[in-house]
């Protein structure tokens, strides 16, 4: 059995929640002991779709991040479990044995990723994504979340497959700062960064300004775009930080300094030139 990896491409997630719902359809009211006992009907998300609205009207985008247990190769949950209930399978999936779990909740606190391990009060056990190990063992090549996904933005494949190698080449980790320590088995593409955007117009002529040179500097880098047929300029996939924008259109120019994209995406609005 090859080791599994999850490949998640946020750029083609349409936000339909079929992943999150599929997880519930599989686990709410169904008992898959020894892999998992039932998930509570609502409020817990072994698979959680994270949704964020970016920007301000009219420069707005929605970012979705399908989130699940990272099935780390160095799982802290397993380390802190004194009951020996958490184990890693040969295929890389990390499982909380529902029959061995004593309900001490140490793993819930130890997991460095949010919304992964939940505590089921009724059953007095910790629960999380099992990678649908009961289905894999039953002959599935997918998980419910990936089988439900209409755009194939979530894939579970063998780590030595061509598809995995191709994807992992330029993939990233969620919370990259702890990836070396945790060794997660979930690879992402298209995790949202920041954008800075705006529209250029000539208030006298009442026209958008097309083809203006826009130069953005910040975080040790410079980016250049020209304004498009709507007078729009977009700088996307920027690292968090502060930026300076220089705009040049014919003999007109403008400098906007101290653009703060550390926390939020920035719509500079309609800029008269």
């Amino acid at each position: 059995m090859g080791k599994k990896v999850f490949l998640v491409d946020c750029r083609i997630c349409n936000g339909c929640y079929s992943c999150q719902i599929g997880c519930k359809d599989e686990h709410v009211g169904n008992d898959w002991t020894p892999i998992a006992k039932p998930q509570p009907e609502i409020g817990q998300f072994w698979f959680k779709l994270h949704e964020k609205v970016r920007g301000t009207v009219p420069k707005v985008k929605v970012a979705y991040r399908p989130g699940l247990c990272m099935h780390c190769d160095n799982p802290t949950c397993k380390e802190v479990c004194t009951a020996g209930a958490i184990y890693k399978r040969d295929d890389g999936l990390v499982i909380i044995d529902p029959e061995k779990c004593t309900g001490c909740r140490r793993c819930v606190e130890a997991c460095p990723y949010e919304d992964v391990i939940y505590f089921n009060e009724d059953l007095n056990i910790a629960q999380k994504c099992t990678g649908c190990a009961h289905l894999i063992d039953g002959g599935w090549k997918e998980t419910r979340c990936s089988d439900n996904c209409p755009t194939l933005c979530i894939r579970i494949v063998d780590e030595d497959s061509e598809e995995a190698k191709e994807f992992i080449k330029d993939a990233e980790f969620y919370k990259p700062e702890i990836a070396d320590k945790m060794k997660p088995r979930v690879y992402y593409k298209g995790l949202p960064k920041k954008f800075i955007a705006g529209t250029l117009f000539d208030p006298v002529e009442d026209e958008v300004i097309i083809g203006a040179e826009c130069k953005l500097t910040g975080e040790g880098k410079t980016y250049s775009v020209t304004s498009n047929h709507f007078g729009d300029f977009w700088f996307e996939n920027l690292p968090d930080g502060k930026y300076k924008l220089e705009i040049k259109a014919g003999n007109k120019s403008k400098v906007i300094d101290n653009i703060d994209a550390t926390e939020l995406d920035v719509n500079l609005g309609d800029i008269p030139l």
């Binding site: 491409d9 083609i12 009907e41 289905l135 089988d147 439900n148 209409p150 933005c153 009442d206 026209e207």
Partner: protein, 934 residues
């Protein structure tokens, strides 16, 4: 924007049914009617659903045997996946079957006594008691007999149309007509085009009948857009919402593919809808229902800058001179400049100019998927007609110049198109279904008796065929007319009517000598009034006022206009008996006198051709029963059979055949056994209809008309695109709300819903009421797991799940509103409580509440807690002579509910406020049942 190519087919994995002892296939789309979509595997163990998952087409066949289509642009390819793509609520549909809101057994309103006091004034207020099927059907049969005897058969109004689960045999809508047509007929509620009214009541007068008003032919649009379109303008519709209930999520893949292939997508809508949120290169927020102003300004730009196809306009259209004079201000002294439009639309004038120029320069398609604020509001005929004129000015029918209901029509044809049709006795496919595959025509020719049995229930959704007719938008007006007055209307609103139908005056009650359509087999007629006598004849009977309502479509209050009034009107003593049959105790059911519990697709044996456009492949599926019926429920068909038994008409309704005989008869009657033998189909439960080898040959859209308008005229009086309509000019020359050519209508006798209205001083926000993301209209509001999406429901401080009201941070701040607050959305028509969702996905000055939430009426006629926003939408028609609804883009105010107000309602209406409630799924049926009778 690049997505590389993840959008490629992946070899099937055909997952086995782990943990199940039975697996069946079901169409789990919710558009209903006679065709399904979204085939899914339902795994069952011990009579309970384990899971619902996509059907892998290659589970039992070789993928390549389907002759999969392929499309390509700029080196990026799209092929069908080997699985179906059901929507989220389809995948969670077991929660719908097991909902605590299911009707457990037949119910009778406590204070309705057919032999005594009927208390119609308590409909929607009094609770129900349990009765047996035997008792219920006795009462129903005797009421039908009494009403027939006392008033005549047409005194029974049947409401049996619209969307639902997809079941062919156990049709959720219309089985009542199988019985009533044996008994002298009935009055039909005629479903209006309830998601594309502008095109139906407007665009038809420009390009002729089209397909239910949309552009037709619409073949191969997907291929042509893929290959030729540079700019796709999506106006109003949401490709990530509306297709879900109809065809599943293929449109999502398609939009990602087009994005990846470099087709620019511009979205013009007040909200950053779910499609704009992930596919838009540019979002242009526009104030609701002001699209006509934007369109007029674009025409102004093209006229003044000379950037339209004058040669095409000269040879393919009539009436450009009138349009030109109008936009230049020669008619009303107001040039329709970008500046003028900017004030109406809220779009900067420089952006309007940039859009007009970009459109003129690029190979542009206008895309939709019904719905949205653009096409369902007051006077929606105007933007719909202007859209056709804009396309006409750029050469409609040229490659890439289309109006496209994206992937709803225009997908590759399957082999029934070129290999099955040879066997059809009558080649006529007049009516709306020619777009699909003609398979019903085959059945009609081979087994007319079965065809009648199967097709009859489904007829009322597309056709006006009852002996007496009332448009769905005029039911309340008809009831209010009482027993001594009548109402009149122009056009039935039936989907398949010819445009000329809209100049015919109908009455209710109908009168001897009124015209009725008879010419469904005479296609290509009725372009102008010289054809009327060929396809219409005079009726030789008088109608009567209605006295009884039989509904299997109990969602009017949350899906049609002025819903509070709908609830109040059905309390009329003239309506002596209201019978509802439905699986869930919701909406209009609560206003019934007798309720029969019907069941879901999971509980019956059925069969379904999934042959509509918009999925990877088309299929035929054997929908075997997954689980036993819940409670005492029967299917909608079985319920009618129970009533028929009491009337001695069982055989007439069932044609003496069993369900299994229907299944086999339909399969063979539609010639599917020529593709996969019956025995093999029965064993495999599904078959995939291979794609035609000739699919690429069909010309795209109106290409033939574009090439030679004389040889291939449009079905209009002049054969051309009528920028100014011959028929409207003749019949309604002075109609200021739908003039002979489209104009800007600020207000009129029917509607006053703009920011310029004095009403806007009190109700300063415009609201849009989109087709819901997490429901299909009124369906599936009780699934707990969709409510957990960020835009699903908002849990108030009181634990109640409120329907979200999107509001911009600016408007929210001005009102002290934050996300999670309970807010009241209101106007003079009433108050609807919602949960605030403060977001940048809605432009300032506009709020958005998806329509179709279950009503939870606290004060009848005044206050609702369920978030059913149509309760306060306008009740008027699209306009005086256009019988659509106008349920979006109207004036409201939004305020945070104060604690004083909250406590007051809670104290004054304790029973309504404290109805039994399930924390996960919401309202419960038992809230309305008087206990102790069990």
């Amino acid at each position: 924007m690049s997505t590389e190519s993840k959008i490629k087919p992946i070899p099937g994995t055909a997952p086995p049914p782990v943990g199940a002892d039975k697996t069946v296939v079901k169409a789990i789309n919710l558009s209903g009617g006679i065709f399904g979509a979204c085939p899914a595997y339902v795994d069952v163990k011990d009579g309970k659903v384990v899971r619902i998952r996509p059907l892998h087409y290659d589970s039992k066949y070789d993928y390549e045997s389907f002759n999969p289509w392929e499309m390509e642009r700029n080196g990026v390819k799209l092929r069908p996946l080997s699985k179906s793509l059901p929507p989220p609520w389809g995948l969670a549909y077991k929660k719908r079957a097991y909902s605590p809101n299911r009707i457990p057994y037949p119910l009778k309103r406590v204070d309705w006594d057919p032999n005594g006091e009927r208390n119609p004034q308590n409909r929607g207020k009094s609770k129900f008691v349990r009765i047996s099927w035997d008792e219920a059907t006795d009462i129903i049969a005797s009421e039908i007999k009494r009403i027939h005897k006392q008033y005549g058969p047409l005194a029974i109004l049947v409401q049996c149309d619209g969307h639902s689960e997809s079941k062919l045999i156990h049709a959720p809508h219309g089985c009542s007509t199988l019985l009533l047509k044996q008994m002298g007929g009935f009055t039909q509620q005629v479903r209006n085009p309830d998601s594309w009214e502008g095109w139906y009541w407007g665009a038809k007068h420009v390009w002729g009948k089209g397909f239910i008003g949309n552009m037709a032919p619409a073949e191969n649009l997907v291929k042509d857009i893929t290959e030729n379109t540079e700019l796709l303008i999506v106006q109003g519709g949401d490709l990530e919402t509306t297709p879900w209930g109809f065809r599943g999520q293929f449109a999502s893949r398609l939009m990602f593919f087009w994005q990846e292939a470099g087709i620019e997508q511009v979205y013009i809508c007040p909200d950053l809808n779910y499609s704009a949120a992930i596919h838009a290169n540019k979002w242009i927020p526009i104030l609701p229902n002001t699209d006509a102003a934007l369109q007029l300004a674009i025409i102004y730009m093209w006229v003044t800058e000379g950037t339209y196809d004058k040669e095409y306009v000269a040879t393919h259209t009539v009436g450009m001179d009138k349009i030109e004079a109008y936009v230049l201000g020669k008619v009303d002294g107001v040039p329709k400049t970008p500046k003028w439009a900017s004030e109406k639309t809220g779009i900067p004038s420089y952006t309007i100019k940039a859009l007009a120029r970009h459109w003129a320069k690029k190979r542009t398609t206008v895309g939709h998927y019904f719905g949205g604020g653009y096409i369902r509001g007051p006077y929606s005929t105007e933007p719909a007609r202007l859209e056709v004129i804009l396309l006409g000015m750029q050469g409609l029918g040229k490659p890439r110049v289309h109006h496209a209901q994206i992937a709803y029509l225009g997908m590759p044809k399957n082999i029934t198109w070129d290999q099955l049709n040879y066997d059809i006795a009558s080649t006529d496919t007049a009516g709306g279904f020619q777009e699909y595959s003609g398979t019903f025509e085959t059945l009609k020719a081979k087994d007319p008796e079965l065809y009648e049995r199967i097709f009859t229930p489904h007829r009322s959704t597309p056709q006006a065929w009852g002996k007496q007719l009332i448009p769905k938008t005029l039911i309340e007006a008809a009831i209010k007319a009482g027993t001594d007055k009548s109402i009149e209307f122009w056009g039935t609103g039936g989907h398949e009517e010819e445009p000329i139908d809209q100049v015919i005056k109908y009455t209710y009650p109908c009168k001897k000598g009124d015209l009725r359509f008879t010419g469904s087999d005479k296609k290509d007629l009725a372009h102008d009034d010289t054809d009327i006598e060929k396809i219409y004849e005079k009726i030789d009977y008088d109608g009567v006022p209605i006295r009884m309502v039989w509904t299997d479509t109990p969602c009017r209050q949350t899906c049609w206009g002025d819903g509070f009034d709908i609830g109040m009107t059905i309390r009329s003593p003239q309506i002596e008996f209201v019978l509802a049959q439905h699986p869930w105790l919701e909406n209009d059911c609560l206003y019934a006198d007798i309720i029969l519990p019907t069941n879901t697709t999971l509980e019956v044996d059925d069969v379904m051709p999934c042959v509509r456009d918009g999925e990877h492949f088309q299929t035929m599926i054997n929908m075997r029963q997954a689980i036993p019926p819940i409670g005492e429920s029967k299917s909608d068909f079985e319920a009618v059979v129970e009533i028929a038994k009491k009337l001695g008409l069982e055989k007439e309704v069932t044609i003496g055949r069993t369900v299994q005989e229907y299944v086999e008869g339909v399969y063979k009657g539609m010639n599917f056994d020529k593709i996969v033998p019956w025995e093999e189909f029965k064993e495999k439960d599904y078959m995939v209809i291979p794609v035609s080898k000739n699919w690429k040959k069909l010309p795209a859209g109106l290409y033939e008309f574009y090439k030679d308008p004389e040889k291939n005229p449009l079905p209009t009086p002049t054969g051309k695109l009528e920028f100014c309509s011959t028929n409207l000019e003749k019949y309604f020359p002075n109609d200021e709300e739908r003039p002979p050519y489209p104009q800007w209508i600020e207000k009129g006798i029917t509607h006053d819903e703009r920011l310029s209205s004095p009403r806007a001083r009190t109700y300063p926000l415009l609201i849009i009421t989109n087709h819901p993301r997490w429901r299909v209209h009124a369906q599936a509001d009780d699934i707990p797991w969709t409510k957990e999406a960020m835009t699903g429901k908002i849990r108030g401080f009181d634990g109640y799940l409120y329907e979200p009201c999107w509001i911009n941070p600016k408007d929210a701040a001005a009102r002290g509103i934050k996300t999670g607050d309970i807010v009241k959305v209101f106007n003079e028509r009433g108050i609807v409580l919602c949960g605030a969702l403060v977001m940048e996905r809605i432009m300032p000055g506009v709020v958005s509440v998806d329509h179709g939430a279950r009503t939870d009426i606290i004060i009848p006629g005044k206050l609702d807690r369920g978030g059913a926003i149509n309760l306060i939408s306008p009740g008027g028609l699209t306009s005086r002579h256009a019988g659509g609804q106008a349920t979006t883009s109207f004036l409201v105010e939004v305020q945070k509910v104060t604690m004083e107000e909250y406590e007051k309602w809670k104290t004054e209406y304790p029973e309504a406020w404290n109805r039994e409630y399930d924390r996960a799924s919401g309202l419960k049926a038992t809230a309305w049942v008087v206990r102790g009778d069990e």
